[in-house]
Symmetry: C2
Subunit: 428 residues, 2 copies
């Protein structure tokens, strides 16, 4: 197909008229489709139903350390859960603390603690005039929501195919003591599915931040969430890399089983240097009586070990892969060569990122809604919900059925085409 | 028996020599006993083992509202869990939010949020020069640890048989805008087992605080934790009382099933006015993806309703009552009339509070340890761990077996006697 921008006004109007007919036919079907959230489908949740049987009233409910998991105690998590989640995120088992069901909550608490108590002896951030944060964009809206909630000024850092623009990161971090953190989803990033290159990870590990309480918030949400057996991204382990570079305390690593077992009832964790963990424990000892050890035990008994978890993730991939491909195939077939948008074919994670012509994202999402398709709000992938280009749209193909996705993708490309034609016509 | 203080020096020395022989005999047994923590025993945990079977892979895992409890969503908790915990703490179901496994964590988060974001529009406490807190004493060490952690100045308020000294509370709260809260365990208080009188609750509801962001932290930890069927304390419901008095927003009520189901895997909640809850939700939406709904469902399916929970609590009482009585009987038999200590016979809760002669508590706990009995550290029931009288000792009889408790109580009274004799001899 020819690029839309090269078509004449008449050709575009003709095209538009045909597309509008199609759009109206779809509208008549009164559909309710949703590609807005990175939510596993029921079929994926069914994969973990064995977890509902793995503990029962005849089970030994003591962990390997001999502690009754029903009772109080064990702040760091039971040792076998530490091992499982440490293996999952590729760190030593003594460098991880197990939390409750939400890694977002762990990240929130980490920022909240820094606000009131600083970081390993630094001034509490609430006592500073200004706290700033680097936000690779497009990125995860719930990360940005945390820093916004605490009044932290967010600075956009563009993503490249290798990860965040490291020239910019290095410059800003080394010059500005007010910059205290950066949000990273380093593997199969949200929303682009980009995995940080070896060079990017190494440059992170070699950062020379002006602020000694600067931390990399390494949200390894999709560390084992591959879509393929044969094509998998590899991410260098950041804790070890930082240690090698003499920056052992510069990173917090977050992970959870939310998209491994059950999104509402998983197990989350933080991995960090011993010094960071000891500081965190001082806080945890005051904050909680400890996290749910029975749920930790449930996870360990079900998955057994990291190999069991990896095999389990293949089953997720089998369900997710056709969904991603259904959407990507429609994008390929319908939009290739039109020069009205670009997208990345991810090898894992939960999202496809689509970049429309500048100024079109909001209108496309609006348009799709008119045909019964709910997308993530345009702008959500940027701090303060403001995409300066109004270009990026996050596509979440996990929850609908493949049949629904085929129609949803059809609505999406129709919306992209119609909105893009209008945009191009403006300048003709 | 005659009061020790009325005995002559010789009589006391004779007495001491006999008691020391007994003490040494016990020491030879090389015992390891623990009355330090309010930890349910294995027999109590066994009462809830049915909860391990109540959900399995064939269960319907949707809540009444039709939501799949395995997946994301439902920030307030599933409706049936709201109803159960609302009934438990005697508030309407729309005035409660369900949290994770630890009510301590809910209280911590409540203070943390006030530090960084104030209370319903007030200045964040971290921006104030001084924040103060009222602490009825003796009280719960983990409460005091939270306020200490946030650098809040704690002011001791003496407990009376009717609850905190309300003359003092009213005066301080109405005069000092820096006072932002008060820790209360209003029913079967920790450690004394005192239930606030009707008049005390009403005076709380009628407080006229100088600070509009003053809140009563009403930790109803033992609301249904009676020891007897026939002798039960009654506590006026504070939310309704505050509403009646035109102070609907003045109280946060906390509760959990930690000592109903499993201490490590229960369900916690906060109850408050709609305005307070809406402010809390603004925070929660950023903080978490929601709490563990499967565990909420597990609780509801197991207990069914508040009647089921009340019947369940009777089974706890049957296990706990003999333990309390074992300790109380030894105290009665061995210490009555000696005027070397006083104690309260609680009708519920988890503790017995013992007041030794001033200056003796630390030494008694030390002495008991010499015979293999671990007690809660003396001073723990006061802010900063400092009991100005060095008098109060918390006895936690829940975890040991009745047989162990009989010996533990024996060691305790021996320690009380020996230390008291030394104290009295000092002034002879």
């Amino acid at each position: 197909m020819a690029a839309y921008s090269e078509l004449s006004k008449e050709e575009l109007l003709n095209l538009k008229s045909g597309l509008e007919k199609k759009f109206k036919q779809i509208q008549k079907q009164n559909l309710h489709l949703d590609m807005s959230r990175g939510k596993p489908s029921a079929a994926q949740l069914d994969l973990s139903m064995g977890m509902m049987d793995i503990l029962n009233s005849t089970s030994n409910l003591k962990c390997e350390a001999g502690v009754d998991c029903r009772n109080y105690g064990v702040l760091d998590g039971i040792p076998e859960a530490q091992e499982l989640l440490a293996d999952m995120t590729e760190v030593p088992a003594n460098q991880i603390i197990i939390y409750g069901n939400s890694s977002l909550n762990v990240m929130f608490d980490t920022v909240a603690r820094s606000m009131t108590h600083g970081v390993m002896g630094s001034t509490p951030w609430c006592k500073l005039d200004k706290v700033k944060w680097l936000c690779p964009v497009p990125g995860y809206d719930r990360h940005f929501a945390i820093t916004e909630y605490f009044g932290i000024e967010m600075i956009n850092v563009p993503m490249t195919p290798d990860g965040p623009d490291m020239d910019m990161v290095e410059k800003l971090v080394s010059e500005d003591e007010a910059i205290k953190g950066i949000w990273c989803v380093p593997k199969y990033s949200n929303p682009q599915g980009i995995t940080y290159s070896d060079e990017t990870v190494r440059r992170f590990a070699r950062l020379k931040p002006a602020a000694k309480d600067f931390r990399i918030y390494w949200d390894n949400a999709y560390g084992i969430h591959h879509l393929y057996d044969d094509k998998q991204d590899y991410l260098i382990e950041i804790l070890m890399e930082c240690k090698k570079e003499g920056n052992p305390d510069m990173v917090y690593k977050f992970c959870s089983t939310s998209k491994v077992s059950f999104p509402g009832s998983g197990v989350a964790a933080i991995a960090a240097s011993p010094a960071n963990l000891e500081f965190i424990r001082q806080h945890m000892r005051i904050q909680t009586i400890g996290h749910d050890k029975l749920n930790q035990l449930r996870h360990v008994r079900f998955f057994k070990d990291i190999h069991g978890m990896v095999m389990h993730m293949r089953k997720h991939a089998e369900i997710l892969r056709p969904k991603f491909e259904a959407v990507l195939n429609v994008l390929d077939q319908e939009l290739t060569g039109l020069e009205i948008g670009s997208w990345i074919r991810p090898r894992g994670g939960y999202f496809i990122s689509f970049d429309a012509l500048p100024g079109c994202a909001k209108a496309i999402v609006e348009k799709a809604k008119d045909a019964g398709l709910v997308m993530t709000p345009a702008g959500a992938t940027y701090p303060y919900g403001k995409d300066p280009q109004d270009s990026n749209i996050r596509i979440a193909p996990s929850f609908p059925t493949p049949e629904e996705l085929a129609i949803a993708a059809e609505i999406f490309v129709l919306s992209v085409k119609l909105v893009s034609i209008d945009k191009i016509l403006e300048s003709k």
